[in-house]
Structure formats: C-alpha cells, structure tokens
Amino acid sequence: MGSKQLQYQVASMRDTLFKQGYLDEQFVQLEELQDDDNPNFVEDIVKSFFQDSVRSFNNIEKAMESHPFDFEKLDKYMHQFKGSSSSIGAAKIKEESTMFREYCRQGSAEGCLRTFQQLKKEHAILRKKLETYFQLARQAGPTETACRSK
C-alpha cells in the first residue's frame, strides 16, 4: 500500500476514534506536544497509561474482594485512574470512571461492579484500537500536523 494511502487510512482511523467518542480534545493536546525531540511522545504516553492501568485495575479488584466494599478506598483508586485517562483524552474510559466514582459515593456495590466491568471492556477496546492506529501510523511515516484538528 502506498504511503499516501496509508496516511489517509491513519487519518481516517483517527477521525473515527474521535467521532465514535473514544477520544476527546485532550488527545489533540498530546499530539501537539509531539516533536522531533520526542517523535513517539503520544504512543509512549498511551503505552504508559495502559501499563499503569494494570496496576490500577489490580488494586481495584483486590479492594473489591473485601465485603462490604471500602467505597472510600475504591474511590481513591478510581480518582487516580480517572486522572490519567482524562490526561490522554480517553473519553469513554473517563465517563465510566466518573460513573464508578458516583456509585462509590452512593455506596452501591452493584453499581460499582457493573461499571467496573464496562470500564474494563472500554479499556480493552481502546487499547486494541490505539495499538492498531499506532502500528499503522508507524508504517505510514510522519505526516504534516500543522492543520491537525479534532
């Protein structure tokens, strides 16, 4: 596949991620930080996020083994996770995190369990989509980013 065609595919994939609500404008902020000094900045940050997520999820799952739930502890873990997801523009993940925290405030174990399952699902979906996106972006090579928009 030609370079131009690949670049078009990358742009189209990116566009879809925004249109389907997986990413928000914070992702654009990340892209604007990428430069010659850090040509893989976005991918590196996103990779770090998914790596750190494993620890967050482990903490939450472990906390959910105790009954009754320590909602304060769960809320604290989710607060931090929500912060990172928000920083990379992971919109759907951020939404689920917000809902989880709301259920913590309400003291709803069922709500927390249900939302956490959905959160993990969204997390896995986004991870897969972004892995594919970055793989394709690497194949396509660098593009002009001056006019990049959401």
């Binding site: 940050i45 770090s48 607060h79 990172s84």
Partner: protein, 127 residues
C-alpha cells in the same frame, strides 16, 4: 538581554499527568523538576529553596495533600508562588485554594493555554 528559564517544581502523584505536564512546561521554556509526593517536594524546596520560581501542585495526593502543602510553603517560603491544579472544580475547593494562598487554580486536565502565560499571570497576582 537573555532571560533565564522560569524554574518550576511540579508535584503530581499520577505518572501520566506528570509526564504530560513536564513536556508542556518544557515546550514553554520552563526548567522543570517533578516529584510525586508533597513530602518529597518539601525536602527538595528545603534543600534547594533558591532554585525555584514557582510551584505547581496537584491537590488530591496520598499523604500530605495539595492544600496542606500550600499552607506549609506559604508559612515556610513566604514569597514562593504556588499554583494548584485539580479535577475538583467546585466553588468550595477553588475558594479554599485561593484563601490558603494559591496564586492560581487550574482545572485538570491542564491545557497548554493554561501554562502559556502562567508565570506572567502569577507575577501579576503576586503584586
């Protein structure tokens, strides 16, 4: 006449947020030092007081939180400006930050425009 870089100490317990902020600040010509705990920040400031022009701190952190850190810095380091940042965007938290001496309160996720004229803004509010 060349102007020296503004030296900023950033405190945030979230690794991802910290890396993004660092990059944002470096691109705005700041000289950046980061740490993840308020207690570490105080150790750094006590050892290197004259090495920083401004502090940027998260609020919700394990151990000492940002409000407590702010109070300690105001007491110990007088003129050193502190900017708070948080996802807490309610009026109560914002008022609390300013009443304790914060020069600015940024809502997370911090945008590059928040950082752009931060130093100039902080200098103005300090006068």
């Amino acid at each position: 006449m060349s102007s020296a870089a503004t030296r900023i100490l950033v405190i945030d317990d979230d690794n991802i947020t910290s890396k993004i902020l660092e990059k944002m600040l470096i691109k705005q010509q700041y000289e950046v030092t980061t740490c993840t705990r308020a207690s570490d920040a105080l150790d750094i400031l006590r050892a290197r007081r004259n090495d920083f022009d401004i502090v940027l701190s998260d609020i919700e952190m394990p151990g000492m939180n940002g409000f407590e850190l702010l109070e300690t810095i105001v007491n110990e380091f007088n003129e050193l400006p502190v900017v708070l940042m948080s996802s807490l965007d309610d009026e109560g938290s914002i008022s609390k930050g300013f009443s304790k001496g914060a020069r600015e309160y940024l809502i997370k996720p911090v945008q590059k425009d928040d950082i752009k004229n931060l130093w100039q803004h902080v200098q103005k509010t300090g006068n």
